[in-house]
Amino acid sequence: MSTPHDAYARSLRRRHLQAAAFGWVCSLATWFSVIILAVLLIAVTYRSVGWISWDFLTRFDSYRPQKAGIFAGLMGSFWLIGLTALFCVPVGVGAAIYLEEYAKPNWLTRVIQLNVSNLAGIPSIVFGMLGFTAFVRMFGLAQQQYILWLGFTHVKFTVPFGRSVISGALTLTLLSLPVVIIASQEALRSVPPSIRHAAYALGATKWQTIRAQVLPAALPGILTGVILALSRALGETAPLAVLGAATYITFAPGKKGLLQAPFDPFTAMPLQIYNWVDEIDRKFQNVAAAGIVVLLVALLLMNGSAIYIRHHFQKKIRW
């Protein structure tokens, strides 16, 4: 015959077992992804040994695997991400500030909010097609060459932008914007309302409150979101392929002057890798592996800087 006390002891044992089992399941889930990632990294690094060299980083692509380098892709990606950041940050952060600080919570705001969230989930290839129509072709409107005189130099470009860096950057901007907006909104929302009230109570205008108190407090979150969005853009292949970015190119953007760079044709690292993988010569597999390592290092540097920035700023800000 069991007493209530025995029942309790049995259930206690069972509850401890449950707790331990749940911990094991969770750690299994973690290690599963870590091991897969490690296998991938080791395999890629192993194949690239002997293929990564200073020459690989500074040479252009070639039909001979031994001669192929990633310089065009590296510089293309650099320009692409730089311009994307330039377009993405003011528009994305501006939109987030409007939605969080200014917009009245009515049906229109809700519709905008819903659309931003939905855009974040749209496949990147769709953005590629949009970018092709809007920037490369500009809906087939008239072809026109422009020369922009800047006082000390001039910049030549065509409208529509064609298969140039700026078309790619604008497309990646569209792709990154929803993520940047949502991350910035989260960051702004995490700033306690009491900080805003304290600033208002001291006779600050709305702009002064946002500029001096809200934005600095939200900055780590905003920057983290921006860098994560940009590192995703750095790895994007599909939209650039749809845009018709060059696959074989033997010069980097900016050859005819830095200001001319946005209007030069380009390729990007992921696209370059994609093409190497497709080559018939098996040796190109190793070139692709070397390219992947370079791309991963670039991604790691970007994510690392995101973590550093967050850590650096958050030391100062504690609620």
């Binding site: 306690p192 009491s194 304290a198 600033a199 109570a201 600050a204 100062k316």
Partner: protein, 281 residues
């Protein structure tokens, strides 16, 4: 409960019951009224939080607002510098006059009003910046940028708030590293830095230990030489210790106003007496 507040010690007068009417019962309040509230009502949407508030707040004196939770005393305080404007769907009826001017008039600049009427919140709200930048924020947004002047002003305000000796060697350190009591005094220094005429305090010591509370009370005592102070407090002893005048709010109405001494020894209303002696609230 009577709809109109009765003024303690004011016998049989037909004029609106006001704090100043208590003059015959004790020393006359110094100076003219700073704030004058006439028939004021306050609405959150359709919910009426304050009804028919008539209150004079004398200049350069401490006026305490007491009453049970949810009675509207904080709402009233926040309406004096229009902090309630931030909340959507709020509405004020009647009039609130500062030096005789209606602060809810359409041509009133809220930013300029809040510079004149400073505020200290219940929870200390230092900005996540240095101690110096916290105090300098108000003057800076007002256009003062000369570092030498800012330095003098910051020192002056920190001294006024009795914080200078504790922080003078670490003005560049984060304000978040200060203790709770120090943070609240920093917020007072910050509020003083815009050179306000009125200081509104919403339970400034309710989250502090007795020692810090005593310091804040001493500070309020000092500050009333130069500022008009309105303080909301849950602490009956605190109201009795620091204020010259007290208003008792209950259920969105001002039940009674008068000189603090009078009110705590001989309240006119039964409700006031019950509240003060701890029988309810």
């Amino acid at each position: 409960m009577s709809t109109a507040p009765k003024s303690t010690g004011m016998s049989g007068s037909a004029t609106p019951p006001l704090v100043l009417g208590a003059a015959s019962q004790g020393p006359a309040p110094a100076g003219k009224p700073k704030f004058e509230t006439r028939g004021m009502g306050f609405f959150y949407g359709s919910h009426q939080a304050l009804t028919e508030i008539n209150l004079l707040i004398p200049e350069k004196a401490v006026t305490a607002l007491i009453g049970p939770s949810g009675c509207g005393k904080s709402t009233y305080l926040r309406s004096l510098n229009r902090m309630n404007d931030i909340i959507d769907g709020t509405r004020v009826t009647g009039s609130v006059l500062l030096d005789g001017e209606d602060i809810y008039a359409p041509d009133v600049d809220v930013v300029a009003l809040r510079k004149r009427v400073g505020m200290v919140f219940q929870k200390s709200t230092p900005f996540p910046k240095s101690i110096f930048d916290n105090v300098a924020f108000g003057p800076r947004i007002g256009g003062l940028n000369k570092l030498s002047e800012l330095k003098d002003l910051v020192e002056h305000c920190l001294k006024q708030a009795a914080l200078w000796n504790e922080v003078k060697d670490r003005l560049r350190d984060s304000a978040m590293a200060l203790s709770g009591g120090q943070q609240q005094r920093l917020c007072i220094a910050r509020a003083l830095a815009t050179n306000p005429e009125v200081l509104l305090m919403d339970e400034p010591a309710s989250a502090l230990d007795p020692a810090s509370t005593a310091r804040i009370e001493d500070l309020i005592f000092e500050l009333k030489q130069n500022y008009t102070i309105v303080i909301v407090t849950h602490n009956m002893q605190q109201a009795a210790r620091i204020s010259e005048f007290t208003g008792f709010f209950c259920l969105g109405r001002l039940v009674e106003v008068g000189q603090t001494k009078q009110m705590f020894t001989n309240p006119a209303e039964k409700e006031t007496e019950d509240y003060i002696t701890g029988r309810f609230g």
